[in-house]
């Protein structure tokens, strides 16, 4: 190329031009330093070495792995294992510490809360909601209404053994199907439902015999839901005075529940999660604020 143009020196700078000209502007030839060029070659050589040593080129269904066998996935897995190993010390401590004492140890509490938060998101949130507020049919864990009890031990038992599931220590308690099994007539159901509605501040149907409803309540419901509708947690009979009804707080919903009750289930987690995680979950759910 150097032969194709005559040497020309710029008058102002005294620098030779490259011979390239654009609209009368000529490019000066200020050469790059050699070491710069060699560094460029070094980067090329380095790239080739890198291809040999590390994963680089994509193939159709895989990639060149490199002779060093480096893998970010393997590194991540190793880091994960390291993390789990690091956690095991706390996990052991959680298992060894009684539930009520966990919150008095700052470090354990912090670990239990973090562990509980993660486990809750993975396992509980699908039914109880990410914030633990529940949905219709899935209890709200944030409020102070507990069907099976809201102490640390109650929550722990519920978590371990579940509700109405195949577990030796599962919590059981089933509401009879008064309508479906024809234990009560439609009219009787209406009477008792209206009675409950009247007690808990809901509007009632006109012309319904509330006294008959009360008699029906005492005969059929009080055994589980209590004389004053306060509920009995041992049998999982919810308080009917509560602001929150699991299956909806309206006269129609009450009638529906008496006629053909739904009895929700919760899995027993002792078969699925390790003891430390279940204890962490207990502390976490209790700390939502509704815990007793």
């Amino acid at each position: 190329m150097s032969d194709t143009h005559p040497k020309e020196v710029d008058q102002v700078s005294g620098v030779e031009t490259t011979g390239h000209e654009w609209d009368g502007l000529k490019e000066l030839n200020n050469p790059l330093p050699k070491w710069w060029l060699y560094l460029f070659y070094v980067t090329i050589v380095w790239a080739v070495i890198y291809w040999v040593l590390y994963p680089s080129w994509p193939l159709i269904s895989s990639y060149t792995t490199g002779v060093l066998g480096s893998s970010q996935r393997a590194e991540a897995l190793a880091a994960l294992e390291e993390g789990v190993a690091g956690r095991s010390q706390f996990a052991d401590q959680i298992v060894a510490t009684p539930l009520e004492d966990i919150s008095s140890d700052q470090q354990l509490l912090q670990f239990a809360m973090a562990n509980g938060r993660a486990a809750f998101g993975d396992n509980c949130a699908p039914c109880h909601g990410a914030g633990g507020t529940g949905f219709e049919g899935y209890p709200n864990l944030q409020d102070d209404t507990w069907i099976w009890g809201g102490t640390l031990d109650d929550i722990h038992t519920t978590l371990l053994h579940g509700i109405r599931v195949d577990n030796d220590d599962a919590r059981f308690g089933e509401m009879p199907a008064y309508g479906r099994d024809e234990l009560l007539t439609k009219e009787e159901i209406s009477q008792v439902a209206n009675y409950v509605a009247s007690r808990t501040g809901l509007e009632t149907d006109e012309g319904v015999d509330l006294a008959a409803g009360e008699t029906l309540y005492v005969d059929n419901c009080a055994a589980c839901h209590g004389d004053n509708l306060e509920g009995i947690q041992d049998v999982g009979a919810p308080s009917l005075m509560s602001a929150n009804y699991l299956y909806g707080k309206s006269l129609d919903a009450i009638k529906a529940q008496i006629t053909n009750p739904r009895n929700g289930v919760m899995p027993a987690w002792e078969d699925r999660l390790d003891p430390a995680t279940i204890k962490s979950l207990t502390v976490y759910v209790h700390a939502f604020g509704g815990g007793q």
């Binding site: 190329m1 150097s2 005294g14 620098v15 030779e16 030839n29 200020n30 050469p31 790059l32 330093p33 050699k34 070491w35 710069w36 060029l37 919150s103 008095s104 700052q106 509490l109 912090q110 809360m113 909601g129 990410a130 914030g131 633990g132 507020t133 709200n140 944030q142 409020d143 102070d144 209404t145 308080s239 005075m241 509560s242 602001a243 929150n244 700390a287 939502f288 604020g289 509704g290």
Partner: protein, 487 residues
Amino acid sequence: MSTDTETHGGGHDDEWFASATKIYPLATHGLFRRIKWALLFITLGIYYFLPFIRYDRGPNAPSQAVLVDMDNARGYFFFIEIWPQEVYYLTGLLIIAAVTLFLMNAVAGRIWCGYLCPQTVWTDLFLWVERKVEGDRRERIAFDKQPWSATKLGKRATKHFFWLMIAWWTGGAWVLYFNDAPTLVWQLLTFQAPMVAYMWIGILTATTYLLAGFMREQVCIYMCPWPRIQAALTDEKALNVTYRWDRGEPRGSLKHNKQLEAQGLPSGDCIDCYQCFQVCPTGVDIRKGPQLDCIQCGLCIDACDNIMTKIGKPTGLIAYDTDENIERRIEGKEPVYEIVRVRTVIYVAVIAVVGIIMLAALLTRDFADISVLHDRNPVYVEQSDGSVRNGYTVRLSNKRRHDRHFMLHVEGMPPNTMVEAVGVTETFAGRPIVQVGPDTTREIRVLVTSPPWEKMPHSTPVTFRITESVMGEVITAKDTFKAPDPD
């Protein structure tokens, strides 16, 4: 740079790529050389020995005056301790550093480059070693041309040995800023230091050796952005190392100039001795005027002054001067030196403002901190008794070196509001007393429950206030208490 192009040969590559011309700076003596030696001693002295200075911070704290503690995420500078959330101090320092550089430049050109830049200082030190081992400029040029012999090999080996020692010490000093210096020195000597320490020493040994031993002026000319920025920042009133061409030209040999003088023809003071060029560490001929390659170290001033004294002319043919003054002298006016002018005043003002802000922030900063995060889901919880509960994640920081207790109070809520902190049993008048360990933060879940009979508005602004139990230090954070819409 122009010297590079002049020397290139005929090959194809040489047209587009030029070998750097090796520069053999001549030793000189004089005022600026002395200033440079003094600054070299001071700056390198600070760099090499600062990590060993102790500063007592009491128990549970490192006793190293200047330390960047990566593991515990703390920075220490004598009485200042910086937490990760306070890196804005670093921002402030960088702003001050940048504007100081502008100010230096507006007053006296590239004094940073010429006297203080690590590249200049270490190159100067390496040149000194080179001169001690291989001799001054003339000997070094001859030495390079000599064929290989035992003597040459010995001298070369000696030079590189000392260079590597200095480079190694430079890398070694660097890692001392990140660990307890005496402990680390012992670990390094017994080969028990962490791998990362050896790695950094290796990297910095290599960069020091390469940059100060081999790359030298190439770093300033091709790698450093500052010469480009500096060229845009300088003006006709800035003092720069200047060849006073009004006095020097027309140049000529001493003899030639004397003849001209005798004939009554104009003759300059420059006797074309090339001393200014030979002492220059970047190979610049200052007589070509201000140029990118010139780091303005003032050594050519020393060299020229020595010559002027010898030939009985006044010194200062090359001196710190302004473009404006050359023009003024040609016009027969007195030179003026305007150090105080709009731009320098603005620079000083910016430095002062940022400095005062930082100082104020430093003096009034809190030794405790609180941050509050309201639960997003649920925003509020209605309780069976009609009360409303809000959950918050509260983080308390204790920046002191001992256990401290903070009383937590939520202001802006009606009386009989309940404030609970999960895991905190100690209370005073219903307010949780939270213990936070030395130099740590503690995250707690705080539950605020309104009284059942109180109808809360949709949103109530509240202030979380912590009061330290001993000193009474008070820190607050704002948030809101949410409740269902009242209608």
